[in-house]
Symmetry: C2
Subunit: 303 residues, 2 copies
């Protein structure tokens, strides 16, 4: 399970200011982040596409405090979508509702997402709605439910560690949604999320089978061999083709496995983060794999 | 979590024949089983009622192999119900669908249950449908769903360790059912049930809160102080009275706690098993608390 201290460090503005201002962190940042600018992201997307790997573009950025600030994020999303389909046909874009104001004004947030979904149709770019901390969970699902009838191709992320996930999935009865299943990487209490790592893996497998049996074109966001093998096995058991679902992984993590899956005929999509607000994202990756932290600390102190 | 070896021993016919034929086991059997005959059960029920404790009568018996054999169980259920309300007003009777043919003929099983539900109305005895092994889970819920509109007061057990439980509960949208929440005591694979004991406790607490928030008159079948305290705390938080839900415990387990809860003003119902097919029931109790096994073995060998 993610390391809690590091998850808390991910929210420290002081640490972020220190790390962001420190040029020595660049090599490590570039290991997990496609670039500081959209141009660098395009380059990474093109390279991946040449290897048969699709991307889901992730504009790094955090929760906004004022609904007016959502306009900057909207502007960036719109601009990115305009180019994304050209740079990497088949690409999708990941949307964080915390950047669209979900914590401030749910209605305005829904309108923002609707506008991006329309832009997605216009530019032929798929939309994937991220799932963030549980405090945004309910409104995120409400907004998704509200827009799903109109935009049935939108994909919503669901976190396996949440105790409510199966019930949430089953609440979408009439329109079976396209989903991305992830384990979940936020600091959640035992009252809402499974804490034991093995149990989260088992729950992930359980929900994978459910998704393969019940939903169209599910995406499995995982780097865990056990989960990946299980998905392959169940899909095979159910007579599904290797094109009937996809694996999603994060940029810079298990690059060889990504290629191996593509070579085996599976669809792979890489979550491609870019931007200068890389610190919280990177710290969450560290929290998942504290061994990487030493590398990070070493780069910070120039060792 | 239940000890798996003992759960398997619970299904051994050879061990059952050996243990049942051995009179030395009687003292231990009587610790957990109200008696071998219904008369002994009435005596136990009356004693509990005097202490302010309700009962749920459990006719010990196992899955039938032939639909015709269900008639014997039906006969026994009917006869017990006729007297139960007189002996202990407010008593309920626990029904095992495996005894009514759920594994052989679902339709016939539903008809059997419907007849018992009618008899329950006639004799003013509440019906509690037990939840057994997951292999009976789907048909049990289908039958319950089918009969719920007609018999809204029937109570269905749900097991917290099952990964599907919240979704199952939420699938009863229109009629909010009366439930008994238990942790679950069968040998289930990780593919369907949570395995880690602490996680099962957390899941139990999560579902307890959900039940208190959403369902009428829930029953909490648990001996776990942590779960009991949590239920009390959440009920208090929600402004519920001590009469708005009940605790259920097994006969012979935590007798002092049962009385303490009654003295505090909570409703307590004791699951009261009787009959000569006590062996599998007792072995499941041993599996939950292997320390008791020594007592049992000692009584078997007369030590």
């Amino acid at each position: 399970m993610p390391n809690r201290l590091l998850l808390r460090a991910a929210n420290s503005q002081r640490l972020e200011a220190f790390a962001t201002g420190n040029r020595l962190t660049r090599p490590l940042v570039h290991r997990y982040v496609a670039g500081y600018t959209v141009e660098e992201a395009w380059k990474a997307a093109e390279e991946l596409k040449r290897d048969g790997i699709d991307v889901s573009l992730d504009l790094l950025g955090e929760s906004v405090d004022d609904i007016k600030e959502t306009e900057a994020a909207m502007q960036e999303y719109r601009a990115a979508m305009e180019d994304l389909g050209k740079v990497s046909p088949g690409a999708t874009i990941a949307i964080k509702l915390s950047q669209l104001g979900v914590f401030i004004n749910t209605e305005q947030c829904a309108q923002n997402l609707e506008e991006l979904l329309r832009a997605g149709e216009h530019y032929d770019v798929g939309i994937e709605v991220d799932m963030e901390h549980s405090s945004a969970g309910r409104p995120t699902l409400e907004i998704f439910r509200q827009l799903l009838a109109q935009f049935p191709k939108a994909r919503q992320a669901f976190q396996a560690y949440m105790r409510s996930t199966l019930a949430d999935l089953m609440s979408f009865k009439d329109i079976k949604p396209r989903i991305r299943l992830v384990k979940g990487a936020f600091d959640e209490p035992a009252s809402v999320a499974i804490q034991d790592a093995d149990e989260v893996t088992q729950q992930y497998k359980y929900l994978s089978r459910w998704a393969l049996e019940n939903l169209p074109d599910p995406a499995f966001g995982t780097h865990d061999d056990q989960c990946i093998d299980y998905v392959k096995q169940v899909a095979n058991e159910l007579g599904l083709g290797r094109e009937d679902f996809e694996f999603q992984m994060l940029y810079g993590i298990r690059r060889e496995l990504q290629q191996e899956l593509v070579n085996q005929g599976y669809r792979v999509r890489v979550y491609l983060p870019y931007g200068d607000r890389w610190y919280p994202y990177l710290m969450r990756r560290m929290a998942e794999r504290p061994a990487n932290l030493l590398l990070f600390l070493r780069s910070l102190v120039g060792g």
